[in-house]
């Protein structure tokens, strides 16, 4: 297992299995006794390699918790999570940090960039931390793809919100992680900038074979995905392949109505 953690992998291109990550009977509970709150209730899920997966659900459904657990940011109460063949549940902080650094990419809703570093330095930060040299050709391609070539020397404060998120996408892609996790990556953007970022994510799946998991509550954002998972009360209650925005919206209204009547 140790060797699996330290081996550098290349997103989508060299995976052995069709499943990039999986969760088995994952429970995440806070507190105990009377005040016990179950955020994830025996969740089983497989994330397909080379696919764009969206996780949806109402507030408090556990969608962010699921993503955090899959990404090794949060611990589970019980159950197992695997990244490829590596079980990440039970790993110590040091190994987990290495795993995040070498095999996972992140895009957060806001505050993705270090204000003291310029765009390029932010993009190469995970590799710098690891002490690896970035692959020049790949880096150029990524920068090209997200359209940042002219702004690499800019500090985050000199970039617009959309540009900042594009830098974050570039950072996530640059290290060729096995999986990129996005936590409402377009949540703070207007619809045009959001569409741009989502377009890049889509292209990175189609053209670069990247695996992406994204939490969102925006049906339009979800429509960029190959597959949508619906969470409610800590359980996966439904899924949909090749969704359109309208289909997603309808399905959500459905859940809302059910939620209100139950």
């Amino acid at each position: 297992m140790t060797s699996a953690v330290t081996t550098t992998r290349h997103g989508g291109t060299g995976g052995r299995t069709a499943v990039a990550a999986r969760a088995r009977q994952v429970v995440k509970a806070y507190g105990s006794g009377e005040t016990r709150v179950v955020a994830l209730d025996h969740v089983d899920v497989d994330i397909a390699r080379g696919q764009f997966t969206a996780i949806m659900g109402p507030s408090g459904s556990g969608k962010s918790t699921l993503m955090h657990c899959l990404a090794g940011l949060d611990t589970v109460t019980s159950g197992q999570i695997y990244l490829d063949e590596t079980e990440i549940t039970g790993l110590k902080d040091k190994k987990l940090t290495q795993l995040r650094r070498d095999r996972i990419g992140f895009i957060f809703q806001a505050f993705n960039l270090l204000p003291t570093l310029n765009a390029l330095e932010n993009i190469t930060l995970p590799m710098d931390i690891a002490g690896r040299k970035p692959d020049r050709a790949w880096l150029d391609r990524v920068v090209e793809t997200v359209g940042l070539a002219g702004r690499l020397k800019h500090r985050p404060t000199q970039l617009s919100g959309g540009q900042q998120q594009r830098v974050a996408v570039a950072r996530a892609l640059a290290a060729r992680p096995e999986i990129i996790f996005g936590d409402e990556p377009t949540g703070n953007l207007d619809s045009r900038a959001g569409a741009e970022v989502l377009g890049f994510l889509r292209r990175s799946v189609d053209e670069l074979g990247q695996t992406i998991v994204m939490v969102t509550h925006d049906p339009v954002a979800a429509s960029y995905a190959d597959r949508v998972l619906y969470l409610a009360d800590g359980r996966i209650v439904d899924e949909m392949y090749q969704p359109t925005a309208d289909q997603v919206l309808d399905r959500m209204k459905d859940f809302d109505a059910r939620g209100r009547t139950s």
Partner: protein
């Protein structure tokens, strides 16, 4: 009212962030109060002692000092004939009068020839056991001394030196060595801070201390019922006529107290000075804390402004927080100050000075001064950040956090800083090139203050440059972690500048003093090598408490292997110079003519050897200039307790040598011609020179001769002498460094404070970095590196500035003989490396806390 409520809530919500500022206030206030309580307690102790030990009226011989101490240059106390006792008894209102004999010019040793004198600088007193002292001392074992073979010792001295009844004690003075066995031990009923006291019976005291019976040094007079001390004094004075000194108990106590107070005051103001430096350093810490609190609260303040708070309300709310901080810090500080005072008293106890906590004196002014100082300093320091808070626009509530830096203010600041620094450097240059020490020292002071303020003002600017250089030199090794540490240190240059400046102040003083100190040693050593032509210097270990008795000089002269022995005898005289001025109690040094060979002083006119011709003398250049003296001028010299001479100036010595600076020389023969033998002062030093090639043997022989017969004297060859000089200056420097440690500790707290608050401020960033794979170790290293960079930045500024000051001071003091500039590189480098470690140490807790942060919570922090 709401302002107060918000302030209180804010204060207690962020009490962790205030903790280090509060400690800084606490430490400074505690040091001030500790100093005040300690010195007040010392005063009380001495006051009680002097009041308790003085009789109603004391009569002493005319030559005695006001404090009733009976040391003299002749080694024998001034005395009065026993007949005064009868005269005093005839005065009205006298109930009793008792004659006593005391001397402090005695060295007391035990059977192993180890000295029994206190090491604290308190006197050693040998005297006659008398009724007055029996009031404040109780014989706790044995009996009072009787006959020449018995001595009674005070209990503290007996304890310290494990003296028991029957032990042999030797008392060495100008009259020889007298042995006696301990017959009794007496305990003080008041606190005796440390004098060692030995009692003989009156007749033995007269014989041993003065050399004849029928004389007294003091007469203690007791008033009859209903007679005031003042009245009694008047009556006694009337009965005795002139020629005696008559003092009431109050006057004796006051004179003694004045003596003690002047020493205590030096100590008090020195310590308060260092407390002031600590306060100054603390100001930086407080400014940083409030600046960061205000920056973090920008949105909140914007909201307050948006919903209608006025500028002054916001301003006031920050100041109220500062007030709370000041009050809490100061109150705790006052308490801690009493603790510090007790600690100091204990410390004094280990050095042989006994103080009792019963005398602990906390004047009402002490807590008042402490509180006022603490509160005022805190509120003043918070004023600038508070004003900045008031300026926050309501729009800030809507904007993302992080106000843009005010570039124009930076420029103005840089200009002011550069002007101040420039003016400071110019003053320092003027001081270094000054041709008069007096005008130069003013320029030096001005230069020090201006460069210090200038550096503080341009600190942020310097931080930008220096941190980049440090980054290029050191941090590059650490790769991206080093780069991030550099960027973080540069992120807020004002904060880095202020934190570094706080450390700079303490270290600048350390560097400056170490340069001056080692230049002093180097200059003196250099001059010793160039001018001293003798092998051995012999003198008492404790110059206040001893001179060289004639029989010791005889012993030295009798030591084999010596070619010459020079006696060196300071005397006092009233001078009347050619310009008509009369200078009272002026020093004149009488020596053998060989002294001109032993110490080859430069002359600006004449030959120094000629000063030792009959009725001749030398003066130094400055004195000559001031009083219009030329070669051949005649000076009227009225020797103290001797005749008046007219001496011809035959040499003028140079004024810019450190050794024996400003001495005026004449020959022993001349002194002996005008001062009668029984009034002749004793030698202060004796110089001995060995025959060629016999130095080692002669040194050994001298040591042996003195150890056996005169343990009060020490012989040093040139190497020893240099070492002693070095040790002495080293000791003084260590004491000052110890006091500066307070300011440095506060500065270190400042570094911890800055890092701790930056970690809080950067919580989200830390969360992000941890999420994308920065390990705990890397994170901790990043924070440590930032801390080291700040500390090293402060050290570079401080050491640079301090060495500049030190070098300037040396150039200025070169006029006074401080000719050699020596930079103590080992000390400087040690301080530099030490400050890097201080940086590491300061980062320990902030780095630990940053590493423990929960990644998800950190990211979610607003």
């Amino acid at each position: 009212m709401t302002v107060l409520k918000t302030s209180m809530r804010n204060f207690f919500a962020h009490k962790g962030r205030m903790a280090l500022s509060a400690i800084a206030v606490l430490l400074s206030v505690a040091f001030v109060c500790g100093t005040l309580v300690f010195t007040d307690t010392m005063n009380t102790t001495f006051d009680n002692l002097f009041k308790a030990t003085s009789s109603d009226v004391t009569v002493t011989a005319k030559g005695s000092s006001d404090t009733g101490e009976t040391t003299s240059r002749t080694g024998k106390p001034p005395v009065m004939p026993a007949s005064v006792l009868g005269e005093i008894r005839t005065a009205q209102g006298v109930k009793a009068a008792e004659g006593t004999v005391f001397s402090t010019s005695v060295t007391v040793v035990d059977a192993d020839k180890d000295k029994l004198s206190p090491s604290s600088g308190a006197p050693t007193i040998v005297g006659s056991w008398n009724g007055n002292d029996a009031r404040t001392m109780k014989i706790t074992s044995g009996t009072a001394p009787k006959g020449p073979g018995q001595v009674m010792v005070d209990a503290d001295t007996a304890d310290k030196h494990h003296l028991r009844l029957g032990d042999d004690i030797g008392m060495i003075n100008v009259l020889g060595t007298h042995h006696a066995r301990v017959s009794g031990i007496a305990t003080f009923t008041v606190t005796n801070p440390g004098a060692a006291i030995f009692y003989l019976d009156t007749k033995t005291a007269q014989q041993n201390l003065v050399g004849r019976t029928g004389v007294y040094t003091n007469v203690n007079v007791t008033a009859a019922k209903g007679v005031t001390d003042e009245q009694l004094k008047k009556n006694v004075t009337a009965a005795l006529g002139r020629g005696y000194k008559v003092q009431t108990a109050k006057e004796v106590a006051k004179a003694n107290q004045k003596n003690v107070e002047s020493i205590l005051n030096v100590m008090k103001y020195a310590m308060l000075g260092f407390a002031g430096i600590a306060f100054l350093v603390g100001i930086f810490l407080i400014i940083n804390t409030f600046s960061m609190l205000v920056a973090q609260r920008t949105r909140e303040i914007g909201l307050m402004r948006a919903i209608g708070s006025s500028r002054s309300q916001v301003n006031r709310s920050v100041l109220v927080e500062a007030l709370l901080l000041g009050v809490i810090g100061s109150v705790l500080g006052v308490g801690a100050g009493v603790g510090i005072a007790v600690g100091l008293m204990k410390l004094m106890g280990t050095m042989g000075m006994h103080l009792s906590t019963d005398d602990l004196t906390v004047a009402w002014t002490t807590p008042t001064v402490g509180l006022l100082l603490g509160v005022i300093v805190t509120v003043l320091a918070a004023y600038l950040p508070a004003r900045r808070a008031g300026k926050v626009s309501p729009m800030a509530a809507l904007r993302d956090a992080g106000a843009p830096a005010d570039a124009r203010a930076g420029l103005v600041r840089a200009l002011i800083g550069l002007v101040l620094t420039g003016a400071g450097v110019a003053s320092l240059y003027a001081a270094a090139t000054a041709d008069k020490a007096k005008s130069g020292s003013g320029m030096l002071g001005l230069g020090v203050v201006l460069t210090l303020i200038g550096f503080v003002v341009i600190g942020p600017l310097l931080a930008g440059g220096l941190v980049r250089v440090l980054g290029a030199v050191i941090l590059r090794i650490f790769g991206p972690v080093g780069r991030m540490a550099e960027r973080n240190a540069l992120r807020n240059p004002r904060r880095t500048g202020a934190t570094g400046a706080a450390l700079m102040i303490g270290l600048a003083l350390v560097a400056c003093l170490s340069v001056v100190g080692s230049s002093m040693v180097a200059s003196a050593t250099d001059q010793l090598d160039k001018t001293v032509g003798t092998d051995f210097i012999i003198g008492p270990d404790n110059p206040q408490n001893g001179l060289i008795a004639p029989q010791a000089v005889k012993a030295i002269k009798g030591t084999p292997g010596l070619t010459r022995v020079t006696e060196y005898r300071p005397a006092l005289a009233d001078f009347t110079t050619p310009d008509g001025q009369t200078l009272r109690d002026t020093d004149i040094t009488a020596a053998d003519p060989t002294y001109a060979t032993d110490l080859r002083k430069k002359t600006v006119a004449g030959n120094l050897k000629d000063a030792y011709l009959p009725d001749s003398m030398s003066v130094h250049e400055k004195f000559a200039k001031a009083h219009g003296i030329h070669l051949g001028s005649k000076i009227t010299v009225a020797f103290k307790d001797g005749a008046t001479a007219h001496l011809t100036v035959r040499a003028i010595t140079s004024s810019d040598e450190v050794i024996d600076q400003g001495a005026k020389y004449t020959s022993l023969a001349t002194l002996e011609k005008y001062v009668p033998a029984d009034q002749m002062p004793l030698d202060a030093l004796v110089f001995a020179t060995a025959k060629d090639g016999q130095q080692a043997a002669a040194y050994k022989a001298l040591k042996a001769a003195l150890h056996d017969g005169h343990p009060e004297l020490t012989v040093r060859d040139q190497t020893d002498y240099k070492q002693a000089l070095k040790d002495q200056i080293g000791q003084l420097l260590n004491m000052i460094y110890g006091l500066l440690a307070l300011a440095i500790i506060v500065a270190i707290l400042g570094v911890v404070n800055t890092l701790a608050l930056s970690v809080v401020e950067r919580t989200r960033e830390i969360g992000l970095m941890r999420a994308i794979g920065l390990s705990r170790r890397q994170l901790r290293r990043m924070i440590r590196l930032e801390s080291v960079v700040i500390a090293v930045f402060g050290a570079l500024l401080g050491l640079g500035l301090g060495m500049g000051w030190g070098a300037t001071a040396q150039k200025l003091l070169a006029l006074e003989g401080l000719k050699v500039l020596e930079i103590p590189w080992p000390t400087i480098i040690a301080v530099f490396i030490g400050s890097a470690f201080v940086g590491l140490f300061a980062a320990l807790i902030p780095a630990f806390r940053a590493g423990r942060m929960n990644v998800l919570n950190a990211i979610a922090t607003d």
